[in-house]
């Protein structure tokens, strides 16, 4: 691909990007959120028509205007969200939309679709049960189905968009060895990712993108993780100190940081205090959770008997594959979903009380789905900041909007929200700025228990750093923080203690530095719980 340019209105998403994948290589396409990685590959796959630029496959120029053209040209892509027919079997999903009558095996004999799938599956270590209904399969297996789908259609270049999201470390290993097998068979793989560690682990070469531009293409042998981090972040106006700080965050958020080495200034200050207290007089727990349970429809609870005890300033990380009751757990822990059991903050029991009472006691929830759960998209920033504290700030049932606006302007400054005005509807802000508004509101409550669910999903590097910074600062001020995240690296980097959500339960518990991603991975899949 050369000179690819793509604009969406005034926004230049891709600015003259050159990109080449060699035969038999795993090529990492690396960059932060919004760098243009997925857009570039969507152009290759025919989902977007480029404004300028050409695509060549095997040296001859091709015109790709639809995914069908791309498939014909031997390009296959696996997106983050799979498009599969849930009630069909694995075989049916793979065969769907193809001409299944004349298949020629490598040895020249004819093959049935089932034979072809079985052959591909064993050749590349993509273990699936061809007769299983897709709806019953876990994410990792569904992803294999998707890869098989591309291979079945004769892909020579396979593009994987952030394939490790929601996989356990074990599944990631399997995926990487399958990728290696595919490449050894003469094909090429493009791995879109924002995690430096993954590219260093599996890629032969990597291309770094930033702000829609090609930045660098390097061989793995010629680079280090630190170099890559610096390349991804680019030049920083604020000078060396800032660049170093951002690079550090990049390492954490991009998955490079080694376990136990997370140097967290603020929380490490809090730790000796806690450690000392443990030996002398145990610090009274600030938040105590006992037997918290959310009943489910079919008799199986959505949140099952969760018990926790958290000291002031402690950050608890809850890892887990999506769909293991994290959303329900988050809501139960913040009083936004009815639950049984007990949860107390500073000795005050909250279960059974209305959500407003939880908020009043300092339990603050930063939800995963910011647009749906976090903001009033049609209302201005001022109104969004008032939401939740509107009753406590009111006098005689009336809200002082003038004061609220003044506070909003101050909050916009303090949390560096990029917005034309405090009256701008929140729904018009970018994801990072929406999260800043939500955090500004959360901290205005003086939280005692702050619960964040996937707090950095979809955020760019700076906003991610901002979130981590604020979380650590809150903890250093004695707030109990619970981080529920599907990003294992994030959990490991932030937390003083790590546990795993599996099927509505919390399984295993590790102190900082004791957690090994493979142990956590086993727990995440329910093995060895």
């Amino acid at each position: 691909m050369s000179g690819i340019r793509k604009t969406f209105g005034p926004v230049v998403a891709l600015d003259g990007v050159d990109f080449t994948v060699a035969n038999r290589e795993i090529h990492g396409l690396l960059g932060g959120n919004g760098a243009g990685k997925t857009t570039l590959m969507n152009v290759l796959y025919g989902l977007y028509a480029p404004d300028a630029g050409t695509v060549e496959v095997d040296g001859s120029p091709v015109t790709i205007t639809s995914p069908k053209d791309a498939i014909t040209a031997g390009i296959g892509m696996v997106h983050q969200n799979f498009l599969q027919v849930d009630v069909f079997t694995v075989t049916e999903n793979i065969v769907l939309g193809t001409d299944s009558t004349k298949l020629v095996a490598p040895d020249g004999s004819t093959q049935t679709p089932a034979q072809r799938i079985a052959e591909l599956s064993s050749r590349f270590g993509l273990t699936v049960d061809p007769g299983a209904r897709v709806a019953d399969l876990p994410v990792g297996v569904r992803q294999r189905v998707e890869i098989l789908k591309a291979l079945y259609r004769g892909a020579k270049v396979l593009v994987l968009d952030e394939p490790t999201t929601n996989l356990t470390p074990q599944e990631v290993d399997d995926l990487f060895s399958s990728m290696r097998a595919i490449v050894d068979d003469g094909m090429s793989v493009v791995l879109i990712t924002h995690k430096i560690r993954e590219t260093m682990e599996v890629c032969d070469r990597m291309t770094v993108m930033r702000d829609g531009r090609w930045i660098a293409t390097v061989d793995k042998a010629d680079t280090t993780a630190d170099d890559l981090a610096a390349t991804m972040i680019g030049e920083i106006a604020g000078g060396d100190a800032e660049a170093a700080a951002l690079a550090q965050t990049a390492q954490v958020s991009l998955g490079e940081e080694e376990l136990g080495e997370a140097s967290l200034d603020t929380s490490s200050e809090a730790e000796p205090e806690g450690a000392a207290a443990d030996t002398v007089t145990p610090t009274p727990a600030r938040v105590t959770v006992r037997g918290l349970t959310v009943a489910g429809k079919g008799g199986k609870p959505l949140v099952d008997d969760v018990t926790l005890s958290l000291r002031p300033g402690e950050i608890l990380g809850i890892a887990g594959v999506a769909g293991n009751g994290q959303g329900e757990l988050a809501e139960a822990l913040t009083g936004t979903r009815s639950a049984t059991g007990s949860l107390s903050v500073d000795g005050a029991e909250l279960v059974g009380r209305p959500t407003a009472a939880w908020l009043g006691s300092g339990v603050v929830y930063v939800p995963e789905d910011r647009q749906r759960d976090g903001i009033l998209p049609g209302a201005g920033i001022t109104e969004n900041l008032v939401l939740g504290s509107h009753r406590t700030r009111a006098k005689a049932g009336m809200i002082n909007w003038r004061a609220a606006r003044t506070e909003a302007v101050a909050a916009i400054k303090e949390f560096s929200v990029k917005t034309p005005s405090a009256a701008t509807p929140c729904g018009q802000l970018s994801g990072g700025n929406i999260q800043r508004v939500i955090l500004a509101r959360a901290f205005a409550h003086n939280p005692k228990l702050l619960l964040l669910h996937n707090p950095t999903r979809g955020l760019d590097l700076r906003s991610t750093q901002f979130v981590y910074d604020r979380v650590r600062r809150a903890a250093s001020q004695g707030c109990v923080v619970i981080v529920i995240s599907e990003d294992l690296d994030e959990v490991l980097a932030l937390s003083d203690r790590v546990t795993v959500a599996y099927s509505g339960r919390l399984v295993g518990e590790f102190a900082r530095g004791e957690a090994n991603p493979y142990d956590l991975g086993r727990l995440m899949t329910g093995v060895g719980a």
Binding site: Y48, E146, L387, K413, D469
Partner: protein, 383 residues
């Protein structure tokens, strides 16, 4: 990490405006007015053509419609007498709309209000005015609130769609009115479904000549309170929040069900108040057809005002002018009164169309940047 570190990257916003600057606000207000102007003009043009096709003089007809209210005191009093129930019925639609609920039962609630007011006014007709008049007004209001409360309760406890329940209860209310006006307190001399007159102490006093009933002042007060509450109060904020995003509201401690139910009950109360004022101020009794077409017009007003409680009384006044001018138009130009309803309907229709048009324009502009955001999360390729 130092604080200057976080500010620098995002570009510090030193002069974040509390609200957009005045010039910009005036500009955006002017832009907001464009669809209204276009809608009204287009409606008049279409109706003008229609009048001409029917063989009448459009200029004459429009002059009659638009000037009748302002030519003399009688026209003005007629207009404000129409304005009062129109405003209340429109608020009864717009308030639940704020919370995303549709109250299409305004006429049923108004009828029940009129029945409640008449019941008190007839059975306690001997009481002095200081006692009887407030009682009539309060009972009428409560009757409307209870009637709407049935729908609110069904909505909250059994998830019965409030559109259905309010509309269906309208039909029930017609039968209640018929029973009351033809059986319970039927006026034998009236020759129709009309009740006996209410006691003298139940009649709203009039001011001026021809007399304007003081219910108009009450409605004026109600609309000011409603506008202020919507803008400044906790209740108004919660109402808006629930309408904007029910889930987020609930997660932030707002009892969304309670807000929705309250909005329905308040709406019913206002519609009931309209019924009581019609009984006490205009007819001195209740009768079949007292609800007129106030429900329909109230919905039109509420939608033209786009749910803004501040705008409702003003839009209602415009519609009242048209309604009162309709009769005069028929007399002067021969164009039938129904033309006015067509005009009102077309204004709303064109407004909604211009909404869609402006939205498409905006989307064409803003969408391009939004598409970029979604570009990073494109759903899977077609199979």
């Amino acid at each position: 990490m130092s604080s200057d570190l976080q500010e620098a990257p995002t570009g510090t916003v030193d002069d974040v405006a509390v609200a957009p600057p005045l010039a910009q606000r005036a500009k955006s207000m002017a832009y907001a007015a464009i669809p209204y102007v276009i809608a009204v003009l287009a409606a008049f043009v279409v109706v003008g053509v229609l009048i001409a096709v029917l063989g009448h003089d459009p200029a004459k007809a429009f002059r009659a419609v638009l000037t009748n209210s302002f030519r003399n005191e009688t026209g003005m009093v007629q207009t404000v007498h129409k304005w009062a129930p129109l405003t209340l019925l429109s608020l009864a639609f717009a308030i639940p709309l704020g919370a995303g609920r549709f109250n299409i039962g305004g006429e049923g609630q108004m009828i029940l209000g009129s029945v409640g007011a008449a019941a008190v006014g007839i059975t306690m007709s001997d009481l002095p005015m200081v006692v009887l008049l407030p009682l009539v007004i309060v009972v009428g209001t409560l009757a409307g609130a209870v009637w709407a409360g049935i729908s609110a309760w069904l909505m909250e406890s059994f998830h019965v769609n409030e559109i259905l329940s309010t509309v269906l209860l309208n039909f029930v209310s017609f039968e209640v009115l018929d029973y009351v006006a033809s059986v319970v307190w039927s006026d034998p001399g009236a020759g129709g479904a009309v009740t006996l007159p209410i006691g003298d102490g139940a009649v709203l006093p009039g001011i001026g000549r021809p007399p304007m009933h003081t219910g108009v002042l009450l409605v004026l007060l109600v609309s000011v309170v409603a506008a202020v509450m919507a803008k400044r109060s906790v209740a108004g904020f919660e109402l808006r929040a629930v309408g904007l995003n029910e889930r987020a509201s609930q997660l932030h401690g707002i009892r969304t069900g309670r807000v929705a139910v309250t909005s329905m009950i308040v709406a019913g109360g206002l519609a009931g108040l309209a019924g009581a004022i019609e009984v006490s101020g205009v007819h001195q009794r209740t009768l079949e057809g007292i609800q007129s077409n106030f429900l329909l017009l109230g919905i039109i007003i509420g939608l033209i005002a786009r749910g803004s409680l501040t705008a409702v009384p003003f839009v209602a006044f415009g519609i009242a002018v048209l309604e009162v001018g309709a009769g005069s138009m028929q007399r002067v130009s021969g164009a039938p009164v129904e033309i006015v309803l067509i005009l009102e309907g077309l204004i709303l229709l064109f407004l909604l169309m211009s909404d869609v048009a402006t939205e498409r324009l905006q989307r064409a502009r803003a969408g391009r940047s939004a598409r970029r955001a979604s570009a990073t999360a494109t759903p899977g390729a077609p199979a």
